[in-house]
């Protein structure tokens, strides 16, 4: 294998992992309450800024930073649910939609106010800036750490959903909220839980994103968030394995588009992603693993 190919594969794995981490949250939330949380991408930005603050303040050992970012993302995701979503639960879908869109705009602009509009450069701890040589290819260590951690998270989450009482309850609510209530399941608490877990993973993606690209700004979450939603659609909205595989499919196609076409096309990569979205929606709107859903009134 040529070293260029190895490099592109590693890039695809790493980018795909980031999309997968964000897509999981979209899929969890949609699965439970049939809502696309537009503010979800902004949790990536929040995670990135938390990382930046923790690294810059130098208060905690670097190994503790991911745990703190996960915890912070958990709280931030839950807070979005409490503040924006809880108030309108039971309202028509379009209202929920507008509310999460409003929440996203509010979060981005609050970040602009308090964090400033200037992009910040980022120095990740020394260990992660190391580069390795694999089969002659020069690869950044972080691009290998990202997929490993992502797969560990995916594994942990899948076990949680499959085996634990809360996990079974989440699947029950996703299928039939009315019957779930009759079991004594408190839907509000589970909705909080899925927003929070999704938030934790998106914040972790933000940590990786900042480490990988070395620059952060208050609006950085929106586009990756939207692309992660495209990944969710590719995999089938509401399906957990779908979100993960969709993330990797999108990551690899984007890297392939940039890496194997003449360089003058690389400016069109975002257009390519959304072109892909429209194609998927035409060919298989329920995605790879989604179940075709009846139209709801």
């Amino acid at each position: 294998m040529s070293d260029y190919l190895i490099q592109q594969i590693v890039n695809g794995l790493s980018l795909g992992s980031l999309y997968a981490l964000v897509a999981i949250g979209f899929s969890l939330i949609y699965g439970v309450i049939r809502l696309v949380n537009f503010a979800h991408g902004d949790l990536l930005m929040i995670g990135a800024f938390m990382t930046f603050g923790l690294v810059a303040s130098d208060l905690v050992p670097w190994a503790a930073i991911p745990l703190l970012v996960l915890a912070g993302g958990f709280l931030a995701g839950g807070l979005i649910e409490r503040v924006a979503f809880r108030s309108i639960s039971g309202a028509p879908m379009i209202t929920g939609f507008i509310v999460t869109l409003s929440a996203s705009v509010a979060i981005q602009n609050l970040a602009l106010i308090f964090l400033g509009s200037q992009p910040r450069n980022f120095n990740f701890p020394e260990v992660f800036r190391m580069r390795l040589s694999i089969g002659g290819a020069d690869v950044a260590l972080i691009d290998l750490v990202i997929p490993v951690v992502t797969l560990l998270c995916a594994l942990a989450l899948t076990t949680f959903i499959r085996k634990t009482r809360a996990g079974i309850a989440i699947r029950a609510v996703a299928e039939n909220p009315f019957a779930a209530q009759l079991m004594g399941i408190s839907i509000g608490r589970l909705v909080f839980l899925v927003f929070a877990v999704g938030g934790a993973l998106a914040a972790l993606a933000g940590l990786f994103w900042s480490g990988k690209y070395g620059q952060i700004n208050p609006l950085m979450g929106f586009l990756p968030g939207l692309k992660a939603f495209v990944a969710t659609i590719i995999g089938g909205v509401g399906s957990l394995p779908g979100a993960i595989i969709g993330g990797y499919i999108l990551g690899f196609s984007e890297i392939a588009f940039v890496g194997f076409l003449p360089p003058e096309y690389s400016g069109y990569r975002d257009a390519f992603v959304f072109g892909l979205l429209i194609l998927i929606l035409l060919v298989r709107p329920q995605g790879l693993f989604g179940e075709a859903e009846q139209e709801r009134a």
């Binding site: 809502l35 696309v36 939609f97 409003s102 602009n109 106010i113 975002d270 929606l281």
Partner: protein, 328 residues
């Protein structure tokens, strides 16, 4: 107390009179700031009214207006930019077009038609999608259009933006267009096409059972909205004289949604009042931002106000109703 209701004809004359008075008063004041602000507010009114038709009447949730505005704007500028400077600013422009100069009303119609054509091409693919898919697809469309505008720099000057666009969009021209757009959407709402749209919004299945071709009705609403958006997008750079790929983006899409939600997602009167109210409100807040140097407050306030408004009045100001005017 009940307000006396006007007949549609009386309302039309009242609208024309108010518009003429406004245009005359602002123009006579000779205050450039007021003139620009009034022009932008009227463009917002047109956008809001057309989105009320596309989304409100049919129940679709398109965020794509800014994409069509961008398309309409760039196409129009190709015909209105001073011929002498086109060769330098837009080297990729074919010689035939580079020689043509059209007056703004004609060029803007071309831009609007181009946007409508794109609306037809894209609408055929997306209007059947369910709410959240349509929203994401149209958000994606904004990004696709922006990406092309950024990369086709032989026509658009890319990220540097086009400056020195002739300020041909006078307030009186915009005033006339606003009246026309309002009348058009009003006529549609109260004709059989509008009733078909409203039927699709209430219950698509049932509408189909009555022989309404839901797909065609939605597509038509999408195309009309795209055309009007393209036309508005064409006018705006000729007010402010600059245009760049990011001029019309997500924030605009969000603000338009805010306006039609406040207006009632289906009420033309509501959309007009909400557009004026939100334009005036955010302009005043923007001046506060400028004087304090804290940017972003306006958007936060609009977003929080919208959430609170939805809690108190989920159906907006008027719902589907048109207050003060007899409609039957």
């Amino acid at each position: 107390m009940k307000m006396p209701a006007l007949s549609p004809l009386q309302a039309f004359f009242l609208l024309v009179a108010v518009m003429a008075g406004l245009v005359f008063a602002v123009t006579a004041s000779g205050n450039g700031y007021f003139e620009t602000f009034a022009a932008l507010t009227l463009i917002n009114v047109m956008l809001a009214v057309s989105l009320t038709m596309t989304n409100g009447f049919t129940g679709m949730f398109s965020l794509g207006h800014p994409a069509f505005m961008t398309l309409g704007a760039y196409v129009t500028i190709l015909f209105t930019y001073p011929v002498g400077r086109k060769g330098f600013a837009m080297p990729a422009l074919p010689e035939i077009i580079a020689q043509i100069h059209l007056p703004l009303p004609v060029a803007a119609l071309v831009g609007g038609l181009f946007a409508a054509l794109m609306g037809w091409l894209i609408g055929r693919l997306v209007v059947h999608l369910q709410t959240h898919y349509l929203a994401v697809a149209t958000l994606g469309l904004i990004i696709v259009v922006q990406t092309f505008a950024l990369n086709l720099d032989g026509l658009t000057r890319g990220g540097r933006g086009i400056t020195g666009i002739p300020r041909e969009a006078t307030l009186s021209l915009i005033g006339v267009c606003t009246v026309l757009v309002i009348v058009l959407c009003w006529r549609i709402k109260h004709a059989s096409l509008g009733r078909a749209m409203l039927a699709v919004r209430e219950n698509e299945m049932a509408a189909r059972c009555f022989g309404i071709e839901a797909f065609r009705v939605k597509l038509l609403a999408f195309i009309l909205g795209a055309g009007i958006a393209g036309f508005c997008g064409a006018l705006l750079p000729h007010v402010v004289s600059v245009m760049s790929p990011k001029t019309f983006g997500l924030i605009l899409a969000f603000n338009l949604i805010a306006i039609i939600v406040v207006g009632g997602q289906g009420s033309i009167m509501g959309a007009i009042l909400a557009a004026v109210f939100i334009s005036v409100g955010s302009e005043s807040l923007r001046r506060v931002e400028e004087s304090t140097g804290v940017y972003g407050v306006t958007q936060v306030i609009v977003a929080v106000a919208l959430i609170s408004f939805l809690l108190v009045r989920p159906k907006g100001l008027f719902g589907l109703k048109e207050p003060f005017i007899r409609t039957s």
